[in-house]
Amino acid sequence: MACSITIRDVRKTYGQFVALDSVALDIAPGEFLTLLGPSGSGKTTLLMILAGFIRPEAGSITVDSDEILRKPPHLRNIGMVFQNYALFPHMSVGENVGYPLKLRKVGAAERYERAREALKLVQLDHLMDRRINQLSGGQRQRVALARAIVFEPQILLMDEPLSALDKKLREQMQIELKHLHDRLGMTTVYVTHDQREALTMSDRVAVMNHGHILQVAPPREIYERPCDRFVADFVGESNFLPVEMRGDAATFGGAPLQLAEGQSAGSGNKALLVRPEKLDILGATPAPEHNPIDGTVEELVYQGETMLIYVTLTSGETIALRRGTRQQALSEMPRVGEPIRLGLHRDDTVLIDEAAHA
C-alpha cells in the first residue's frame, strides 16, 4: 500500500512572488515526513500541489514513478486532513466517514462496517450517529482523520491538523497519530510550524523557508546538526557566538575550539551554535573536554521545570542556559552579578555557516 513520492523542480509563483522555488524532495514508502517552516514559507502550497488543488508552473511529482501532476484531485487517491477539519455539517459522523466509500460505490452494509472500523481506529465508533456540531474539537479532528484513511489511500496529507487544539490534547494526539501511522504504514506528509511537534512525530523533517527546502533529515540530525543558521534558529532555542577563523582552525575567546571527532571547521565565516541545555557550569575543576566560556550572571528566570540563566559574556554577547529545578540544583544556582565559567562539551560543539540565507 505504501508508495514513494518524488518531487522535482516544483515551482509556483503568485505574480512576482515566488511561493515555491524549484523544490525537490524524495519521500520513501511508508515514511512520516514533516514540512516544518514559519508561516508563509510555502508548506501549504506544496501540500496543495501534492493534493492537486494548486497547479505549479513547472515540475514533476511522481508517485511510484507515476506522474500525478496532471491528474485531477479526485483521481489521485490521496487522503487529506485540513487544518479546520472541513467536516460536512449536513451529514452525521458515520455519513462523513462513509462518504469516500459511497463515491467508490461501496454497498451500504459494507460501507457501514468499514466506516465503523475506521472510527474504531480513532476510538469514536460509539459516535457514528452524532451530528458534527455535537462533537468537541478533538473528536472532530479524529473524525476528519478517520474519513481521510477509510478508503485506504496510498498517501495521507495533513495540514496543521492539531493547531486548533489546546496544548494537552495536542500532545496526546501527536503520539496517537504517530502510533496510527506505525500501524497503517501509509506514506504521510505532515505540515506544521511547531518545531517540537515536528521533532516528536516525524521519521524525517524538511525545514522550509521562503519557498525553499533548506534541510531534510531525521529529527535528531535537524536539531543536533542544523545545516545553517535559519534551521538552527527555527528549531529549538539557540545562541550564536562569533568565532574567528585561523586558517582552517576555529578559535573562540582566544583559545582554539575543540570539535567533535570527525568534524572540521572548514572555511568561510562561522558561528558557534550553543543550545541553552547543552551548557555546563564549570566549577574550579579542570574539564579538558569542554570549551570554556566566561561571563557574568545577568538574570535568573524561574520557569517551572527549568531555570533560565542569562549570562553576559566578557565579549559582550548575552547567552542563555537552562538548568533543571531539582532542589539540589537550585541550591547550587549562581547568583546575579557573580562571575561564572560555562563549558560546552566538544561533542556538543556545532559550527554554522554564517553566509547562507542570511
Binding site: R8, D9, V23, A58, R70, L214, V216, A217, C227
Partner: protein, 298 residues
C-alpha cells in the same frame, strides 16, 4: 539539503501542458457564468446601446437635436429638476424616518429585533402596486385621513392629499423606506456595543458618544441605503404616475409618454441616456468619495 539543480529539460514540456490545464480550468469555471452574462448582454447592454444610438436620430436626421431640445425648452429642465428635488426630498425623509428604526432595532435582543424587522420586510415584499393603491384609498377625499381629521374637527373641508405632489412624496417614501432601513440595520447590528459603553466610560454623554462613535460607524450602511433610495427614486415610474394624478411629471413618465404616445424614440432615448448618465455619475461620485467596495463588501 540545498537542491539548486537547474530545471531539467524533461519538465520544460510539462510547463506548457500545466499552463494549458490551468487555462482550461479557468475557462470552465468562468464558463458557468456564461448563460447569465449572455442574458444580460443581449437583453440589457445591447438594447441600451441601441437606445443610445437612437438618441442621436431626430425626424430621420442624425444629430444632437434631441439633446439640444432638452436645454432649450424649460419644460424639460423643470422635469429634471422636479425629479431630482423629489428624489432628494424622499431620500431625506427616508433617512429621518429610517435611522431611528435601524438604530433602535440594532440594539434590541435578536428576537425582538426580528419582530420589528418583520414590519419593514413585509411592505418590502408587497407589490408596489398594492401599496400605491392602499395610499390612494387612504389619501383620497373621502379617505381615512380626511375622515379622521374632519371627525376630530381639525378641518372642515377635505384636504387634497392624493393626485398631487403630497401623495406622490408620501407613497414614494413608503416604498423606499425599507431600502434604507435594511442595509443600515445590517451595519448597525454589527457595531460593537462595548464601543459606546467605552465612550460613556471615558466621560462622553450618550449624545456625544452617539455623535463620535455610533454615527461614523453606521456611515457605510447609511450611505449604501441612501444611494439606493436616491437612484431608485430618480427612475421611479409607478407611484408618481398613480398618486401624482398627472400633476407630477418625472423623467421616467416623460420617457414613457414620448415612446408610447408620440412614438418619438429619439426623444425618449435621449432622456433615458441623460437619466442613465446621472445615475452612473452618482455611483462614480460615491465610489470616489466613499469607496463602493467598502460600502457593499460585507
Amino acid at each position: 539539503m540545498h537542491d539548486m539543480t537547474a530545471p531539467q529539460g524533461g519538465h520544460a514540456l510539462n510547463r506548457k501542458e500545466l499552463a494549458a490545464d490551468e487555462r482550461r480550468e479557468k475557462r470552465q469555471i468562468l464558463g458557468l457564468s456564461l448563460p447569465a452574462a449572455a442574458i444580460i448582454l443581449v437583453l440589457l447592454v445591447i438594447p441600451v446601446g441601441w437606445l443610445f444610438a437612437l438618441s442621436f436620430v431626430s425626424n430621420g436626421e442624425i444629430g444632437l437635436a434631441n439633446y439640444t431640445r432638452m436645454i432649450e425648452y424649460s419644460a424639460y429642465l423643470s422635469i429634471f429638476s422636479t425629479t431630482i428635488l423629489i428624489s432628494l426630498f424622499v431620500t431625506l425623509l427616508c433617512i429621518v424616518l429610517g435611522y431611528p428604526v435601524a438604530y433602535l432595532l440594532g440594539q434590541m435582543p435578536p428576537r425582538l429585533a426580528t419582530i420589528g424587522l418583520a414590519f419593514v420586510i413585509i411592505p418590502f415584499w408587497t407589490s408596489i402596486l398594492v401599496r400605491t393603491y392602499a395610499w390612494l384609498v387612504i389619501l383620497q377625499r373621502q379617505g381615512i385621513v380626511n375622515d379622521a381629521l374632519i371627525g376630530i374637527g381639525l378641518i372642515d373641508e377635505p384636504l387634497r392629499l392624493a393626485h398631487n405632489l403630497t401623495g406622490t412624496v408620501i407613497g414614494m417614501t413608503h416604498v423606499m423606506l425599507p431600502f434604507l432601513v435594511l442595509p443600515l440595520y445590517a451595519t448597525v447590528r454589527n457595531i460593537d456595543g462595548d464601543l459606546m459603553r467605552a465612550a460613556n466610560n471615558m466621560g462622553a454623554s450618550p449624545a456625544r458618544a452617539f455623535r463620535d462613535v455610533f454615527l461614523p460607524l453606521s456611515m457605510p450602511g447609511l450611505i449604501a441605503g441612501s444611494l439606493l433610495v436616491f437612484i431608485l427614486c430618480l427612475g421611479f415610474y409607478v407611484t408618481p404616475q398613480i398618486l401624482g394624478g398627472g400633476r407630477v411629471i418625472m423623467v421616467s413618465m416623460k420617457i414613457q409618454q414620448n415612446v408610447q404616445t408620440y412614438f418619438d424614440w429619439g426623444a425618449g432615448s435621449a432622456l433615458g441616456v441623460v437619466l442613465l448618465l446621472i445615475v452612473f455619475a452618482i455611483f462614480y461620485l460615491v465610489h470616489r468619495l466613499a469607496g463602493l467596495d467598502r460600502i457593499f463588501a460585507r
